[in-house]
Symmetry: C6
Subunit: 81 residues, 6 copies
Amino acid sequence: MEKWLTSLKTRTPEEGYELAIKLATKSIELIQPSETIRKKLRPKYSRNPDSLIAASEVIAIHFQTVAAANNYWRSDKKGYY
Amino acid sequence: MEKWLTSLKTRTPEEGYELAIKLATKSIELIQPSETIRKKLRPKYSRNPDSLIAASEVIAIHFQTVAAANNYWRSDKKGYY
Amino acid sequence: MEKWLTSLKTRTPEEGYELAIKLATKSIELIQPSETIRKKLRPKYSRNPDSLIAASEVIAIHFQTVAAANNYWRSDKKGYY
Amino acid sequence: MEKWLTSLKTRTPEEGYELAIKLATKSIELIQPSETIRKKLRPKYSRNPDSLIAASEVIAIHFQTVAAANNYWRSDKKGYY
Amino acid sequence: MEKWLTSLKTRTPEEGYELAIKLATKSIELIQPSETIRKKLRPKYSRNPDSLIAASEVIAIHFQTVAAANNYWRSDKKGYY
Amino acid sequence: MEKWLTSLKTRTPEEGYELAIKLATKSIELIQPSETIRKKLRPKYSRNPDSLIAASEVIAIHFQTVAAANNYWRSDKKGYY
């Protein structure tokens, strides 16, 4: 498998959020490697509000990790308080 | 896509809470980009107590992140203890 | 909307717990602004053990945030160890 | 309401665990104040494995908070490493 | 009840993981003290993938606590970076 | 049982992610030791979007732990800000 995660560092919070989505998506791919099956599941869960909310919780947990890794993108070492 | 998240810093806890809601909402939009479908789902989940509770959990997780990023809006560097 | 959250600081852990409940409740209100609908949902979920447990999980997550914000209500700066 | 939570400090991890259970239980009581109803729900959820697991998750989250508040009951200020 | 939790300290990550399982199991025992009932539930939930995943989430949360308590089993005070 | 977890340290975030998957998988194995039963469950949950999302949440929680243990794989002691 090619490298897909070399660093948790991102330039901006928004890129950090995108990385959180990537981290969430990757585990689905690793548990269900068949792209064919995943494509069949997508329309199902993306129209189910509870599945959408559950997926967004996984993203939220990864975003916590990425935000901490980036020291919350504070502009200086002491933070911005 | 236009920039929607430039900083985790907010002036007050209440604005931090609003940012947490934005962070939670955004993942729903990114997973289900069709506004038409999302609008159909809304009346469904917003009348289902379990969906409401699940959505509020995602907000709670993001609020943890935003609160930490803002050092809990303490008024001085040492905290307010 | 009037201000409802000006600080995460509370005098005691018990007040912190009450703030956690407020933080959990607020997201339900923001997602489902109709008080009429919320009142209809309440008897339903407050008699369903799984809904009660799920709601208490959201409170637990917010309590983590509030407790951290108050440095766990330790009585001195070094903690009480 | 009488005071039920004056400190997050406990002498031992085991007492901290008991406090976590108290914190989890309290939210159920606050959302569903009727003891009659709660007593009816108990046999139901205490025989349902999924409810038991969900309840133990809430306890786990509160235990995180209590453990952090007690600096993990380390015996000295530097920790026990 | 005899003492079952005297410290969060473990010698290795693997022992920490075992402690996390113990912490997760204990709440089930405390909520449902009847061993007879618990034994009846076990075959049910241990063959249900969703129950297994939910149980493993509780273990994951406790493992976070235990790992933090042990400073992640780093070999020196500064960490191993 | 042979040792399966000697350290939380990994060289890269990607290896940390793999360790998180291992940590998540291990609890399933410990709760349900029968490989025969686990193999029967796999096709079921790996085609159910909600099970996949729940499994990825467990991985996300373990990844938080592993990432913190590795100080987020920052290249120097002060972090990379």
